[in-house]
Protein backbone atom coordinates (compact mmCIF):
# COMPACT_ATOMS: atom_id res chain seq x y z
CA UNK A 1 0.00 0.00 0.00
CA UNK A 2 1.49 3.35 -0.98
CA UNK A 3 2.00 5.90 1.75
CA UNK A 4 -1.06 8.00 2.37
CA UNK A 5 -0.39 11.68 2.83
CA UNK A 6 -2.68 13.61 5.04
CA UNK A 7 -2.66 16.72 7.14
CA UNK A 8 -2.31 16.60 10.91
CA UNK A 9 -1.22 18.92 13.65
CA UNK A 10 2.35 18.20 12.62
CA UNK A 11 3.97 19.46 9.46
CA UNK A 12 3.08 16.32 7.55
CA UNK A 13 2.50 12.70 8.15
CA UNK A 14 2.20 9.54 6.18
CA UNK A 15 1.11 6.08 7.03
CA UNK A 16 0.98 2.67 5.55
CA UNK A 17 0.67 -0.98 6.20
CA UNK A 18 2.88 -3.85 5.24
CA UNK A 19 0.77 -6.94 4.91
CA UNK A 20 1.64 -10.47 4.20
CA UNK A 21 5.00 -10.74 5.86
CA UNK A 22 5.28 -14.46 6.14
CA UNK A 23 7.58 -16.72 7.98
CA UNK A 24 7.30 -20.36 7.12
CA UNK A 25 8.40 -23.37 9.02
CA UNK A 26 7.70 -26.97 8.17
CA UNK A 27 4.54 -27.16 10.21
CA UNK A 28 3.35 -23.69 10.81
CA UNK A 29 2.88 -20.25 9.38
CA UNK A 30 3.56 -16.91 10.95
CA UNK A 31 2.08 -13.71 9.64
CA UNK A 32 2.97 -10.50 11.40
CA UNK A 33 1.58 -7.31 9.94
CA UNK A 34 3.27 -3.99 10.42
CA UNK A 35 1.17 -0.85 10.33
CA UNK A 36 3.05 2.39 10.59
CA UNK A 37 2.69 6.11 10.62
CA UNK A 38 5.31 8.84 10.46
CA UNK A 39 5.25 12.53 11.13
CA UNK A 40 7.77 15.31 11.44
CA UNK A 41 8.15 18.62 13.12
CA UNK A 42 11.09 20.73 12.07
CA UNK A 43 14.10 18.49 11.85
CA UNK A 44 12.62 15.85 14.15
CA UNK A 45 10.73 12.88 12.75
CA UNK A 46 8.50 10.40 14.55
CA UNK A 47 7.40 6.90 13.74
CA UNK A 48 4.62 4.95 15.41
CA UNK A 49 3.91 1.38 14.39
CA UNK A 50 1.82 -1.59 15.39
CA UNK A 51 2.96 -5.17 15.06
CA UNK A 52 -0.16 -7.23 14.55
CA UNK A 53 0.16 -10.91 15.37
CA UNK A 54 -3.51 -11.80 15.29
CA UNK A 55 -3.37 -13.87 12.13
CA UNK A 56 -0.61 -16.27 13.04
CA UNK A 57 -1.51 -19.89 13.45
CA UNK A 58 1.62 -21.56 14.67
CA UNK A 59 0.77 -23.36 17.87
CA UNK A 60 3.06 -21.18 19.97
CA UNK A 61 2.09 -18.53 22.44
CA UNK A 62 4.19 -15.67 21.11
CA UNK A 63 6.66 -14.63 18.47
CA UNK A 64 9.83 -12.66 18.71
CA UNK A 65 10.01 -10.04 16.02
CA UNK A 66 13.36 -8.64 14.97
CA UNK A 67 13.10 -5.36 13.09
CA UNK A 68 15.32 -2.57 11.85
CA UNK A 69 14.46 1.10 11.80
CA UNK A 70 15.42 2.92 8.63
CA UNK A 71 16.37 6.55 9.07
CA UNK A 72 18.97 8.65 7.36
CA UNK A 73 20.02 10.35 10.57
CA UNK A 74 20.27 9.90 14.30
CA UNK A 75 17.65 7.63 15.91
CA UNK A 76 16.26 8.23 19.38
CA UNK A 77 14.66 5.08 20.73
CA UNK A 78 12.17 5.35 23.60
CA UNK A 79 13.80 5.62 26.99
CA UNK A 80 12.93 4.15 30.35
CA UNK A 81 14.41 5.98 33.32
CA UNK A 82 16.73 7.83 30.96
CA UNK A 83 18.04 4.74 29.19
CA UNK A 84 16.96 3.18 25.90
CA UNK A 85 14.20 0.63 26.38
CA UNK A 86 15.57 -2.90 26.71
CA UNK A 87 14.06 -4.01 23.40
CA UNK A 88 16.23 -1.55 21.50
CA UNK A 89 19.81 -1.90 20.32
CA UNK A 90 20.79 1.16 18.30
CA UNK A 91 18.49 1.08 15.27
CA UNK A 92 17.42 -2.54 15.77
CA UNK A 93 14.73 -3.82 18.05
CA UNK A 94 13.53 -7.17 19.23
CA UNK A 95 10.03 -7.38 20.65
CA UNK A 96 7.81 -10.24 21.70
CA UNK A 97 4.28 -10.20 20.37
CA UNK A 98 1.82 -12.74 21.75
CA UNK A 99 -0.18 -14.63 19.16
CA UNK A 100 -3.61 -13.10 18.88
CA UNK A 101 -2.53 -9.65 19.99
CA UNK A 102 -0.79 -6.50 18.86
CA UNK A 103 2.21 -4.57 20.09
CA UNK A 104 2.93 -0.90 19.61
CA UNK A 105 6.40 0.51 18.96
CA UNK A 106 7.65 3.99 18.29
CA UNK A 107 10.71 6.18 18.08
CA UNK A 108 11.91 9.61 17.07
CA UNK A 109 14.97 10.79 15.25
CA UNK A 110 16.76 13.63 13.53
CA UNK A 111 16.43 12.89 9.84
CA UNK A 112 13.90 11.28 7.54
CA UNK A 113 12.49 7.82 7.98
CA UNK A 114 12.52 5.43 5.05
CA UNK A 115 9.42 3.86 3.59
CA UNK A 116 8.62 1.65 5.29
CA UNK A 117 10.35 3.20 8.29
CA UNK A 118 10.51 -0.13 10.11
CA UNK A 119 11.43 -3.35 8.42
CA UNK A 120 10.74 -6.76 9.89
CA UNK A 121 13.82 -8.87 9.28
CA UNK A 122 13.07 -12.00 11.22
CA UNK A 123 10.26 -13.65 13.18
CA UNK A 124 10.67 -16.69 15.37
CA UNK A 125 8.78 -18.43 18.15
CA UNK A 126 9.52 -16.72 21.45
CA UNK A 127 11.72 -18.79 23.72
CA UNK A 128 9.93 -19.96 26.82
CA UNK A 129 6.56 -19.19 25.31
CA UNK A 130 4.80 -15.99 26.17
CA UNK A 131 7.14 -13.46 27.71
CA UNK A 132 4.93 -10.42 27.54
CA UNK A 133 2.28 -9.92 30.20
CA UNK A 134 -1.27 -11.10 29.79
CA UNK A 135 -4.36 -9.74 31.43
CA UNK A 136 -3.84 -11.87 34.54
CA UNK A 137 -0.33 -10.48 34.91
CA UNK A 138 -1.76 -6.96 34.69
CA UNK A 139 -4.34 -7.83 37.32
CA UNK A 140 -1.69 -9.31 39.57
CA UNK A 141 0.66 -6.36 39.15
CA UNK A 142 -1.89 -3.58 39.60
CA UNK A 143 -4.19 -5.12 42.13
CA UNK A 144 -7.62 -6.67 41.88
CA UNK A 145 -10.21 -3.90 41.49
CA UNK A 146 -13.09 -6.13 42.58
CA UNK A 147 -15.02 -4.53 45.45
CA UNK A 148 -14.42 -6.35 48.74
CA UNK A 149 -17.14 -8.57 50.09
CA UNK A 150 -17.65 -6.12 52.95
CA UNK A 151 -18.65 -3.45 50.45
CA UNK A 152 -21.62 -5.46 49.26
CA UNK A 153 -24.80 -4.60 51.15
CA UNK A 154 -26.44 -7.28 53.25
CA UNK A 155 -29.33 -9.06 51.53
CA UNK A 156 -32.62 -7.70 52.72
CA UNK A 157 -35.06 -10.34 51.70
CA UNK A 158 -37.86 -10.21 49.22
CA UNK A 159 -39.46 -6.91 50.15
CA UNK A 160 -36.41 -4.75 49.51
CA UNK A 161 -36.02 -2.07 46.90
CA UNK A 162 -36.73 -2.63 43.25
CA UNK A 163 -34.36 -5.49 42.50
CA UNK A 164 -31.33 -4.93 40.34
CA UNK A 165 -32.62 -7.64 38.09
CA UNK A 166 -35.37 -5.36 36.87
CA UNK A 167 -32.88 -4.05 34.36
CA UNK A 168 -32.15 -7.49 33.07
CA UNK A 169 -34.06 -9.32 30.41
CA UNK A 170 -35.70 -12.58 31.28
CA UNK A 171 -37.55 -13.84 34.27
CA UNK A 172 -36.31 -11.55 36.99
CA UNK A 173 -33.88 -13.98 38.56
CA UNK A 174 -31.03 -12.45 40.49
CA UNK A 175 -28.48 -12.46 37.75
CA UNK A 176 -25.94 -10.92 40.07
CA UNK A 177 -25.74 -14.19 41.84
CA UNK A 178 -25.57 -12.96 45.41
CA UNK A 179 -29.18 -12.11 45.97
CA UNK A 180 -28.45 -8.66 47.28
CA UNK A 181 -30.69 -6.83 44.88
CA UNK A 182 -29.29 -3.53 46.12
CA UNK A 183 -29.02 -1.03 43.36
CA UNK A 184 -28.41 2.72 43.57
CA UNK A 185 -29.99 3.17 40.19
CA UNK A 186 -33.06 1.24 41.23
CA UNK A 187 -33.34 3.22 44.41
CA UNK A 188 -33.49 6.38 42.41
CA UNK A 189 -36.53 5.16 40.57
CA UNK A 190 -38.29 4.04 43.72
CA UNK A 191 -37.25 6.98 45.85
CA UNK A 192 -40.66 8.60 45.57
CA UNK A 193 -42.13 6.26 48.13
CA UNK A 194 -39.50 5.48 50.76
CA UNK A 195 -41.83 3.32 52.79
CA UNK A 196 -41.87 0.74 50.01
CA UNK A 197 -38.12 0.40 50.20
CA UNK A 198 -38.01 -0.78 53.77
CA UNK A 199 -38.21 -4.25 55.08
CA UNK A 200 -40.74 -4.42 57.90
CA UNK A 201 -38.97 -3.58 61.13
CA UNK A 202 -36.11 -1.91 59.39
CA UNK A 203 -35.76 1.71 60.25
CA UNK A 204 -35.22 4.43 57.72
CA UNK A 205 -32.07 5.37 59.56
CA UNK A 206 -30.62 1.91 58.93
CA UNK A 207 -31.34 2.35 55.29
CA UNK A 208 -29.70 5.71 55.30
CA UNK A 209 -26.71 4.38 57.15
CA UNK A 210 -26.27 1.69 54.53
CA UNK A 211 -26.66 4.18 51.72
CA UNK A 212 -24.24 6.55 53.35
CA UNK A 213 -21.72 3.81 54.00
CA UNK A 214 -21.97 2.62 50.43
CA UNK A 215 -21.64 6.07 48.94
CA UNK A 216 -18.82 6.95 51.27
CA UNK A 217 -16.90 3.88 50.21
CA UNK A 218 -17.49 4.76 46.59
CA UNK A 219 -16.49 8.36 47.13
CA UNK A 220 -13.37 7.38 49.03
CA UNK A 221 -12.18 5.04 46.33
CA UNK A 222 -9.23 6.59 44.48
CA UNK A 223 -10.21 9.92 45.91
CA UNK A 224 -12.99 10.08 43.39
CA UNK A 225 -15.94 11.96 44.76
CA UNK A 226 -18.83 11.63 42.43
CA UNK A 227 -22.30 11.39 43.84
CA UNK A 228 -24.17 12.12 40.69
CA UNK A 229 -25.70 8.65 40.68
CA UNK A 230 -27.13 8.88 44.18
CA UNK A 231 -30.87 9.16 44.41
CA UNK A 232 -32.04 12.73 44.83
CA UNK A 233 -33.30 12.24 48.41
CA UNK A 234 -29.97 10.71 49.38
CA UNK A 235 -28.16 13.60 47.72
CA UNK A 236 -30.22 16.08 49.70
CA UNK A 237 -29.70 14.14 52.89
CA UNK A 238 -25.95 13.92 52.33
CA UNK A 239 -25.82 17.63 51.56
CA UNK A 240 -27.65 18.40 54.78
CA UNK A 241 -25.29 16.14 56.73
CA UNK A 242 -22.31 17.89 55.19
CA UNK A 243 -23.74 21.26 56.14
CA UNK A 244 -24.35 20.07 59.68
CA UNK A 245 -20.87 18.63 59.87
CA UNK A 246 -19.43 21.83 58.50
CA UNK A 247 -21.39 23.90 60.96
CA UNK A 248 -20.44 21.53 63.74
CA UNK A 249 -16.82 21.75 62.82
CA UNK A 250 -16.95 25.50 62.73
CA UNK A 251 -18.87 25.57 66.01
CA UNK A 252 -16.31 23.28 67.59
CA UNK A 253 -13.50 25.49 66.40
CA UNK A 254 -15.28 28.57 67.75
CA UNK A 255 -15.90 26.81 71.04
CA UNK A 256 -12.29 25.74 71.20
CA UNK A 257 -11.12 29.26 70.53
CA UNK A 258 -13.47 30.59 73.17
CA UNK A 259 -12.29 28.01 75.67
CA UNK A 260 -8.67 28.74 74.89
CA UNK A 261 -9.31 32.44 75.35
CA UNK A 262 -10.89 31.74 78.72
CA UNK A 263 -7.96 29.55 79.76
CA UNK A 264 -5.50 32.14 78.59
CA UNK A 265 -7.33 34.90 80.47
CA UNK A 266 -7.51 32.77 83.63
CA UNK A 267 -3.81 31.94 83.33
CA UNK A 268 -2.93 35.59 83.00
CA UNK A 269 -5.06 36.43 86.01
CA UNK A 270 -3.39 33.71 88.07
CA UNK A 271 0.02 34.91 86.94
CA UNK A 272 -0.81 38.50 87.87
CA UNK A 273 -2.12 37.33 91.18
CA UNK A 274 1.00 35.29 91.78
CA UNK A 275 3.26 38.18 90.83
CA UNK A 276 1.40 40.57 93.09
CA UNK A 277 1.66 38.14 95.99
CA UNK A 278 5.38 37.62 95.39
CA UNK A 279 6.33 41.28 95.02
CA UNK A 280 5.51 42.33 98.63
CA UNK A 281 7.46 39.43 100.06
CA UNK A 282 10.61 40.07 98.03
CA UNK A 283 11.84 43.11 100.04
CA UNK A 284 11.28 41.14 103.19
CA UNK A 285 13.31 38.25 101.82
CA UNK A 286 16.08 40.64 100.77
CA UNK A 287 16.20 41.93 104.26
Amino acid sequence: MPPLLRSTGLSYSCEGIVRGFKYHTAASRTMVELEWRTASRGTVSFVAATLDNRRSQTGVDAHEVHADVRIDGELWPPCVDGHPAPEWDDDALQVTVPVGSTRGIGAAGRGTFGSPPIEIVHVEPAEGGRSTPDSVDVLRALGDPTPPREAIPIPRGESTTVPATEDRPGNGEDTHGDGSGWDVHSQERSAGDPSKQLTPGESENTDRERSTGELSRIAARDGKRNRSRAPAPVERWLGAVEQRLDRATRAERAADREHLARVRKRSEELLDSLNSSIEPTEPAMQR
Partner: protein, 216 residues
Protein backbone atom coordinates in the same frame (compact mmCIF):
# COMPACT_ATOMS: atom_id res chain seq x y z
CA UNK B 1 -9.17 0.16 16.85
CA UNK B 2 -9.49 0.43 20.60
CA UNK B 3 -8.84 3.82 22.17
CA UNK B 4 -8.70 4.02 25.95
CA UNK B 5 -9.70 7.29 27.58
CA UNK B 6 -7.75 7.45 30.81
CA UNK B 7 -6.60 10.08 33.20
CA UNK B 8 -5.88 8.93 36.72
CA UNK B 9 -7.98 11.42 38.63
CA UNK B 10 -11.73 11.17 38.84
CA UNK B 11 -14.01 14.00 37.84
CA UNK B 12 -11.82 15.41 35.08
CA UNK B 13 -14.34 14.61 32.34
CA UNK B 14 -13.24 11.24 30.98
CA UNK B 15 -16.81 10.11 30.42
CA UNK B 16 -17.70 13.27 28.50
CA UNK B 17 -14.63 12.88 26.33
CA UNK B 18 -15.41 9.19 25.75
CA UNK B 19 -19.00 9.84 24.74
CA UNK B 20 -18.19 12.74 22.45
CA UNK B 21 -15.18 11.08 20.86
CA UNK B 22 -17.18 7.91 20.23
CA UNK B 23 -19.90 10.00 18.59
CA UNK B 24 -17.39 11.75 16.36
CA UNK B 25 -15.74 8.45 15.42
CA UNK B 26 -19.02 6.55 15.05
CA UNK B 27 -17.54 4.13 17.55
CA UNK B 28 -18.94 2.05 20.36
CA UNK B 29 -18.26 3.60 23.74
CA UNK B 30 -17.64 1.07 26.50
CA UNK B 31 -18.23 2.22 30.05
CA UNK B 32 -15.46 0.30 31.80
CA UNK B 33 -15.83 2.04 35.14
CA UNK B 34 -16.96 -1.11 36.89
CA UNK B 35 -17.54 0.47 40.29
CA UNK B 36 -18.71 3.94 39.31
CA UNK B 37 -20.34 3.77 35.91
CA UNK B 38 -21.11 7.20 34.54
CA UNK B 39 -22.51 6.76 31.05
CA UNK B 40 -26.17 6.02 30.32
CA UNK B 41 -27.26 2.53 31.32
CA UNK B 42 -30.75 1.91 29.96
CA UNK B 43 -32.14 -1.59 30.12
CA UNK B 44 -30.70 -4.91 29.11
CA UNK B 45 -27.45 -6.77 29.68
CA UNK B 46 -24.43 -4.68 30.61
CA UNK B 47 -20.71 -5.02 31.12
CA UNK B 48 -21.16 -6.60 34.54
CA UNK B 49 -23.16 -9.35 32.88
CA UNK B 50 -20.53 -9.77 30.19
CA UNK B 51 -17.67 -10.02 32.69
CA UNK B 52 -19.67 -12.52 34.71
CA UNK B 53 -20.17 -14.66 31.61
CA UNK B 54 -23.92 -14.09 31.55
CA UNK B 55 -24.06 -12.13 28.29
CA UNK B 56 -22.24 -11.93 25.02
CA UNK B 57 -20.30 -8.67 24.47
CA UNK B 58 -22.01 -7.95 21.17
CA UNK B 59 -25.40 -8.71 22.66
CA UNK B 60 -24.75 -6.07 25.31
CA UNK B 61 -24.00 -3.27 22.83
CA UNK B 62 -26.95 -0.93 22.44
CA UNK B 63 -27.31 0.61 19.05
CA UNK B 64 -30.51 2.49 19.80
CA UNK B 65 -28.83 5.08 22.01
CA UNK B 66 -27.56 8.45 20.71
CA UNK B 67 -24.11 6.87 20.77
CA UNK B 68 -23.65 3.11 20.45
CA UNK B 69 -22.77 1.98 23.93
CA UNK B 70 -21.84 -1.04 25.97
CA UNK B 71 -23.03 0.24 29.34
CA UNK B 72 -21.92 -0.80 32.78
CA UNK B 73 -24.07 -1.93 35.66
CA UNK B 74 -24.52 0.22 38.74
CA UNK B 75 -24.24 -2.31 41.51
CA UNK B 76 -21.19 -3.20 43.53
CA UNK B 77 -22.55 -6.73 43.65
CA UNK B 78 -22.42 -6.80 39.87
CA UNK B 79 -18.91 -5.40 39.87
CA UNK B 80 -17.86 -8.10 42.29
CA UNK B 81 -19.51 -10.93 40.38
CA UNK B 82 -17.49 -10.47 37.18
CA UNK B 83 -13.97 -11.43 36.17
CA UNK B 84 -12.21 -8.10 35.48
CA UNK B 85 -9.68 -9.72 33.13
CA UNK B 86 -12.51 -10.51 30.72
CA UNK B 87 -12.59 -6.83 29.80
CA UNK B 88 -9.65 -7.48 27.46
CA UNK B 89 -11.39 -10.13 25.35
CA UNK B 90 -14.63 -8.15 25.59
CA UNK B 91 -13.06 -5.04 24.08
CA UNK B 92 -11.41 -7.07 21.36
CA UNK B 93 -14.68 -8.80 20.51
CA UNK B 94 -16.49 -5.47 20.24
CA UNK B 95 -13.67 -4.04 18.13
CA UNK B 96 -13.85 -7.04 15.81
CA UNK B 97 -17.58 -6.50 15.36
CA UNK B 98 -17.75 -2.69 15.26
CA UNK B 99 -14.19 -1.76 14.27
CA UNK B 100 -13.96 1.31 16.49
CA UNK B 101 -14.17 1.22 20.26
CA UNK B 102 -13.67 4.00 22.80
CA UNK B 103 -13.21 2.86 26.40
CA UNK B 104 -14.12 5.08 29.32
CA UNK B 105 -11.55 3.97 31.89
CA UNK B 106 -12.04 4.29 35.63
CA UNK B 107 -9.92 6.60 37.73
CA UNK B 108 -6.98 5.30 39.69
CA UNK B 109 -4.11 3.00 38.91
CA UNK B 110 -5.61 -0.37 39.75
CA UNK B 111 -6.14 -3.18 37.29
CA UNK B 112 -9.57 -1.92 36.25
CA UNK B 113 -7.79 1.13 34.82
CA UNK B 114 -4.82 -0.86 33.51
CA UNK B 115 -6.67 -3.65 31.73
CA UNK B 116 -8.41 -1.39 29.17
CA UNK B 117 -5.05 0.25 28.51
CA UNK B 118 -3.59 -3.22 28.07
CA UNK B 119 -6.28 -4.09 25.54
CA UNK B 120 -6.05 -0.79 23.69
CA UNK B 121 -3.26 0.02 21.33
CA UNK B 122 -3.60 3.71 22.01
CA UNK B 123 -5.03 6.07 24.56
CA UNK B 124 -6.00 9.62 25.38
CA UNK B 125 -5.07 11.26 28.63
CA UNK B 126 -7.76 13.48 30.08
CA UNK B 127 -6.92 16.07 32.66
CA UNK B 128 -7.87 19.46 33.95
CA UNK B 129 -5.38 22.26 34.45
CA UNK B 130 -4.78 21.84 38.15
CA UNK B 131 -2.04 20.62 40.45
CA UNK B 132 -3.79 17.37 41.33
CA UNK B 133 -5.09 16.18 37.98
CA UNK B 134 -1.92 16.76 35.95
CA UNK B 135 0.38 14.69 38.20
CA UNK B 136 -2.24 11.91 38.14
CA UNK B 137 -2.20 12.08 34.36
CA UNK B 138 1.59 11.79 34.43
CA UNK B 139 1.27 8.59 36.46
CA UNK B 140 -1.33 7.25 34.05
CA UNK B 141 0.98 8.07 31.16
CA UNK B 142 3.68 5.95 32.80
CA UNK B 143 1.19 3.13 33.19
CA UNK B 144 0.10 3.46 29.55
CA UNK B 145 3.72 3.33 28.48
CA UNK B 146 4.36 0.12 30.38
CA UNK B 147 1.22 -1.39 28.89
CA UNK B 148 2.12 -0.32 25.33
CA UNK B 149 -0.81 2.04 24.90
CA UNK B 150 0.58 5.01 23.02
CA UNK B 151 -0.65 8.40 24.17
CA UNK B 152 -2.21 9.97 21.09
CA UNK B 153 -3.49 13.19 22.58
CA UNK B 154 -4.01 14.95 25.88
CA UNK B 155 -7.51 16.34 26.32
CA UNK B 156 -7.40 19.33 28.61
CA UNK B 157 -10.88 19.92 29.99
CA UNK B 158 -11.97 23.22 31.53
CA UNK B 159 -9.21 24.98 29.65
CA UNK B 160 -9.23 28.75 29.83
CA UNK B 161 -7.52 31.42 27.78
CA UNK B 162 -4.83 31.74 30.41
CA UNK B 163 -4.20 28.01 30.75
CA UNK B 164 -0.54 27.22 30.00
CA UNK B 165 -1.32 24.65 27.34
CA UNK B 166 2.26 24.41 26.17
CA UNK B 167 3.39 23.52 29.67
CA UNK B 168 0.80 20.75 29.81
CA UNK B 169 1.99 19.48 26.45
CA UNK B 170 5.60 19.45 27.62
CA UNK B 171 4.67 17.75 30.87
CA UNK B 172 2.57 15.01 29.33
CA UNK B 173 4.50 14.64 26.10
CA UNK B 174 1.63 14.66 23.62
CA UNK B 175 -0.34 17.24 21.64
CA UNK B 176 -3.01 18.93 23.72
CA UNK B 177 -6.63 19.43 22.70
CA UNK B 178 -8.13 22.07 24.99
CA UNK B 179 -11.86 21.82 25.69
CA UNK B 180 -13.27 24.97 27.27
CA UNK B 181 -15.94 24.86 29.95
CA UNK B 182 -19.33 24.88 28.29
CA UNK B 183 -22.64 24.38 30.04
CA UNK B 184 -24.12 22.82 26.92
CA UNK B 185 -21.53 20.07 27.14
CA UNK B 186 -22.64 19.20 30.65
CA UNK B 187 -26.31 19.33 29.75
CA UNK B 188 -25.78 17.10 26.73
CA UNK B 189 -23.78 14.67 28.87
CA UNK B 190 -26.58 14.50 31.42
CA UNK B 191 -28.97 13.64 28.59
CA UNK B 192 -26.60 10.97 27.31
CA UNK B 193 -26.05 12.85 24.08
CA UNK B 194 -22.92 14.23 22.44
CA UNK B 195 -22.60 17.99 22.18
CA UNK B 196 -22.57 17.56 18.41
CA UNK B 197 -26.33 17.04 18.48
CA UNK B 198 -26.99 19.90 20.89
CA UNK B 199 -24.55 22.58 19.77
CA UNK B 200 -22.63 21.48 16.68
CA UNK B 201 -21.12 24.93 16.20
CA UNK B 202 -19.79 25.19 19.71
CA UNK B 203 -16.08 25.19 20.39
CA UNK B 204 -16.17 21.83 22.24
CA UNK B 205 -18.00 20.22 19.32
CA UNK B 206 -15.36 21.49 16.91
CA UNK B 207 -12.56 20.32 19.16
CA UNK B 208 -14.03 16.83 19.43
CA UNK B 209 -14.27 16.68 15.62
CA UNK B 210 -10.62 17.68 15.41
CA UNK B 211 -9.74 15.08 17.99
CA UNK B 212 -11.59 12.38 16.06
CA UNK B 213 -9.77 13.31 12.87
CA UNK B 214 -6.44 13.00 14.67
CA UNK B 215 -7.36 9.66 16.20
CA UNK B 216 -9.20 8.12 13.27
Amino acid sequence: MIVAVAGGKGGVGKSAVSLNLAAALDAVVVDADLGMADLPAGRGPDLHDVLAGRADPIEAVREDEPVKILPCGRTLAGARAGDPTRIVETLRAVADAYDRVVVDCPAGMAADAGLPLFAAGRCLLVTTPDRIAVPDAVRTRALARVLDAGVERVVLNRAEDTTPIDAVRRTLGAPVVPIPEDDRLRRAQNAGEPIETVAPRSVPAKRFRTLAEAIG
